[in-house]
């Protein structure tokens, strides 16, 4: 809530600049800053950041989700299988369809067609499955008082097993009978083609140049509106905070960065869809944590659970809800990650939970709960993904891919060490 720039925020920003600058010069032929590479980087950052923002919801009340990576694989794989109509699960569902037909008649069976399902339906089913799984884990954490570490560690193994069962440990391409088809949509005399292969296009779809710029304009206008309203309220009630000038400068910087991003992306193919999805998720979680009761309670529970109980907060309900939301975000990340890979393979999602936790921690989220912001997590994800992407491009480090892990591990530890150092000095 402290609105002044803190040493810590600045250190994050400079760390990011330093990493980006390093790769700009280290990658041969300035390959790092080409629009194509930056677009890819944005897609990868978006996927990492989406999961990390979800992780924030679970870490804020003092828990953790180690099952997120396995969940990404499972839900992406599940969507692929349901869309493609392949594998063991499709066979099972087809048999179920036949059994329904034999027992209750064709009418009932028609309500439950076997896969392949239309992409939106398949994805919706995956979302519901994720909500149930994560809701169950949340219940185990709050009702039975098993540590989230243990519950989600178990979940990680179980989901990994389920994942491999669903895809039968095969590599399955993300294509189905809907590939290339579209629904005609008539709006005011004009007909648009709405593509049907959502899952396939999730990471290959780009906003065209005009739409991208328009979106950037709308977002910056909304941000300006929000900033002005906040400033007016602060002035009216005499609350300490940024004065008008600083508010405007902050907005100007963010808006310029936004337009810069769109312009660079437009030089390649436009703003990639994952960036839009990540932006939407981040905005939703930001609103949740900053402007709703639910979010306020998450901070309170993480800050002092006993005080939260005595303050009349339904702690258990809130934590279960956080887990359910995490499930939704895991599923969305799963769709994107699987679509980006183009295939569902048994190792999709490996170690992604740790990347998400690392992004949170680098972004200043306290693992004990009660502290952290969406903006910080986005920074953290940006640092982690930039490092990974950059290292796969330089000649030296791409020859030794294992260095990627070592560098990310070192940066994580360094960031936490600096955090504890800097916050101590501020106190």
């Amino acid at each position: 809530m402290n609105s002044k720039f803190s040493l810590r925020d600045l250190s994050l920003f400079f760390a990011l600049l330093a990493i980006a600058a390093f790769f700009t010069f280290a990658v041969p032929g300035y390959g790092f800053v080409t629009p194509r590479n930056l677009t890819q980087l944005v897609v990868e950052v978006s996927i990492t950041a989406t999961l990390a923002v979800g992780m924030l919801l679970v870490i804020l009340p003092g828990h953790i989700d180690l099952s997120a990576g396995s969940g990404v694989g499972l839900l992406g794989g599940l969507a692929t299988v349901l869309v493609g109509g392949t594998g063991w699960l499709t066979k099972a569902l087809t048999n179920f369809h036949a059994w329904l037909g034999a027992t209750f008649g064709a009418k009932v069976a028609a309500c439950f067609p076997p896969p392949p399902w239309p992409d939106p339906v398949a994805m919706l089913v995956c979302l519901v499955v994720a909500m149930v799984f994560w809701g169950l884990m949340g219940m185990l954490v709050v009702r039975e008082r098993i540590q989230a570490f243990i519950v989600t560690l178990g979940g990680m193994l179980i989901f990994k097993g389920l994942f491999w069962r669903v895809i039968e440990s095969h590599t399955i391409p993300v294509i189905g009978p809907t590939l290339g088809k579209s629904w005609p949509l008539a709006v005011g005399g004009q007909t648009f083609d709405v593509p049907q292969d959502w899952l396939h296009r999730l990471t290959t779809e780009y906003l065209d140049a005009t739409t991208g710029l328009l979106l950037a304009a709308v977002i910056s206008l909304l941000m300006l509106l929000g900033a002005v309203r906040g400033w007016a309220r602060r002035r009216k009630h005499n609350i300490a905070g940024d004065d008008g000038e600083l508010t405007f400068v902050k907005w100007l910087i963010v808006a310029q960065l936004l337009f810069l991003f769109v312009l660079v992306a437009n030089q390649y193919q436009g703003v990639p869809m994952p960036a839009v999805i990540c932006g939407a998720v981040a905005f939703a979680v930001h609103t949740l944590t900053r402007h709703t009761r639910f979010g306020r309670y998450l901070y309170a529970i993480g800050g002092n659970e006993e005080a939260a109980v005595i303050s009349g907060i339904a702690v258990k309900k809130i934590v279960v809800r956080a887990f359910v939301l995490m499930g939704v975000i895991v599923a969305i990340t799963g769709f994107m990650q699987t679509a980006y890979a183009g295939y569902t393979t048994p190792d999709i999602g490996n170690l992604m939970e740790l990347d998400a936790v690392a992004a949170c921690v680098i972004g200043g989220v306290s693992l004990r709960g009660g502290r952290g912001t969406v903006l910080g997590v986005l920074y953290g994800a940006l640092i982690m993904a930039t490092l990974a992407k950059g290292m796969s491009l330089t000649t030296f480090t791409s020859r030794y891919p294992e260095l990627k892990y070592i560098a990310r591990g070192a940066v994580l530890i360094l960031a936490v060490w600096m955090d504890s150092r800097l916050s101590k000095r501020i106190d």
Partner: protein, 537 residues
């Protein structure tokens, strides 16, 4: 005969308080010396000082053990000098056996490995010597509280302690266990071991002590041979505290309504972990505009009662509770909505999110009133927070100040504000003035008066008898989970303390109306509009 322990002119200051003033105290070989006093009289400070927990140099005065000056820098020094403290919270490792616990930290070794055989043998010898019927190999987790206490004592004696300090050893013991313990202490006395025995139970004190010393407000006010004194005399000395603070409790107004705000009927509650009964057959009512004081010694069940009413603790075994005409729900969010709020005893642990701002903490409970469809209305939140911040007179830079950095009194005001902002009909205050300065205390008393003036019912739990007498319209004293006495205004400290210590139940007022016999004319809509309530605050 020179004393084995003698303390002369001990003075211990904490910031803002003098915990011990010029305390002198001695203990002879083979003597059991009982130490008595109200909660907060300075007993535990004295123990901490004797046991080295407060290191030499942090206090004034002299300590002599076995004829030599003692300058304890820590517990190890005190143990070395032959002192052992057996605390209320037992310091045994549950997962280990009796023998392992007794030799914890000084295991007999051979070639660097633990010599289990020797440990077992020596434990057996110790247990036999003190005629304790326990096996060295029993895991401590399987022992009862009384047996654990004995293991603690044997552990201390195994270190050749000559002076035992027992801090309320019988508080958690059943009658027969108490007898066993007392017999062992008598036996130890015969072997020349000196003992400082701290207890609230005067019967026990008279049964075992050779001498009795009473502490009050950090001073030794009375020392006598047990044979030369009596229970009433002890109680008189314990409560001799003067009522120096001003209690502005206005006399109770005429009843504001013909119904009670809260009915509690035959309430019995068990500890959810141990299953033992902690509250037994509690019955009382409280009217709108009334302050009901609840007193009792540590562990009498006061906090448990409030926490249970609020829905945050305990398993109800019997009885029921109603607020107005509806039964009180059993979870904090629901009780809060039905008009009962709690200000808990430990504001740092249970009251505040210390890292967050004052505003964050204030609006934690009443957040539902400040939001629409789950979205917090910042303007509304700010204006409500600001109003309470000003009316409670919180001294802080503003709503943005970090709650953890405020003084105790200001923190307490925030916790109070948080509860009051939900506009409750009944407010439970658990030690609302503990550890805060006199000025803040007076403000809180004033606040209580204002609350009752607009028809709120206040339950005030306090360890300070003058505060209880000064602020309450009626007082209930609890003893071991039961109501040991009910008093109208004008009760003396002696009467209250006698009841708290388990004297005969002296009910000074007629039995309160019960839920069944009380005519319920309440239409469920009784609530003081906040517009009346706020300006007076």
């Amino acid at each position: 005969m020179s004393p084995v322990l003698s303390a002369r002119n001990l003075t211990k200051r904490f910031p803002g308080v003098v915990a011990l003033k010029d305390v002198s105290f001695d203990l002879h070989e083979g003597e059991i010396h009982a130490l008595c006093g109200e909660n907060g009289a300075g007993k535990s400070t004295l123990i901490k000082l004797l046991s080295g927990l407060h290191a030499h140099g942090s206090y004034d005065g002299e300590l002599e053990v076995g004829g030599k000056f003692a300058r304890f820098r820590g517990i190890a020094d005190a143990e070395h000098a032959g002192l052992a403290v057996i605390y209320q919270e037992l310091a045994l490792v549950e997962e280990m056996t009796v023998a392992e616990n007794i030799f914890l930290g000084r295991e007999p070794r051979r070639f660097g490995l633990v010599n289990w055989e020797k440990m077992h043998r020596e434990t057996q010898a110790l247990l036999r010597k003190f005629q304790i019927n326990l096996s060295p190999d029993t895991p401590v987790s399987r022992l009862g509280v009384g047996e654990k206490q004995l293991v603690e004592i044997v552990k201390a004696l195994g270190k050749n302690s000559r002076i035992l300090i027992l801090d309320e050893p019988t508080a958690a013991l059943a009658e027969h266990e108490t007898q066993i313990l007392l017999n062992i202490l008598r036996d130890l006395r015969g072997r020349g071991i000196a003992c400082i025995y701290i207890s609230h139970r005067l019967d026990e004190v008279f049964a075992i002590a050779d001498r009795i010393t009473i502490l009050r407000d950090g001073e030794t006010v009375f020392t006598a041979k047990a044979a030369n004194t009596s229970k009433p005399e002890l109680i008189r000395h314990m409560v001799g505290r003067e009522i120096t603070e001003l209690f502005p409790r206005a006399l109770k107004l005429d009843p504001l309504a013909d119904h009670q705000a809260l009915y509690v009927e035959n309430l019995s509650v068990a500890d959810p972990h141990t299953g033992s009964l902690r509250l037994k057959n509690i019955t009382f009512t409280i009217a709108p505009g009334e302050v009901l004081g609840i007193g009792g010694l540590m562990g009498a069940g006061r906090t448990e009662l409030l926490m249970h009413l609020y829905g945050a603790w305990g398993e109800r075994v019997g009885g029921r509770v109603a607020i107005g005409r509806r039964l009180l729900p059993d979870s904090p969010p629901a009780t809060l909505r039905s008009g009962l709020a709690l200000v808990s005893e430990d504001r740092r642990r249970q009251g505040l999110v210390l890292d967050q701002s004052v505003g964050f903490n204030l609006s934690l409970s009443p957040l539902a009133r400040m939001s629409r469809c789950g979205l917090i209305q910042p303007a509304r939140e700010h204006s409500l927070n600001d109003a309470f911040f000003r009316r409670l007179g919180v001294r802080a830079t503003g709503l943005e100040a970090t709650a953890g950095k405020l003084s105790g009194g200001n923190q307490q005001k925030i916790v109070l504000g948080k509860a009051l902002m939900t506009e409750p009909k009944v407010i439970l205050l658990d030690e609302p003035t503990r550890g805060i300065d006199v000025g803040a205390k007076a403000e809180i008393y004033e606040l209580i008066n204002n609350l009752t003036a607009v028809g709120k019912a206040v339950v005030l739990v306090s360890s300070e008898l003058p505060e209880l007498i000064g602020m309450s319209d009626r007082i209930l004293m609890l003893h071991e989970g039961r109501i040991a006495g009910e008093f109208e205004r004008g009760a003396t400290q002696e009467q209250l303390l006698a009841a708290a210590m388990g004297g005969e139940s002296v009910s000074a007022s007629p039995a309160p109306p019960t839920l069944l016999t009380m005519p319920c004319t309440y239409d469920g809509s009784y609530a003081i509009p906040s517009s009346i309530f706020l300006p007076i605050l």
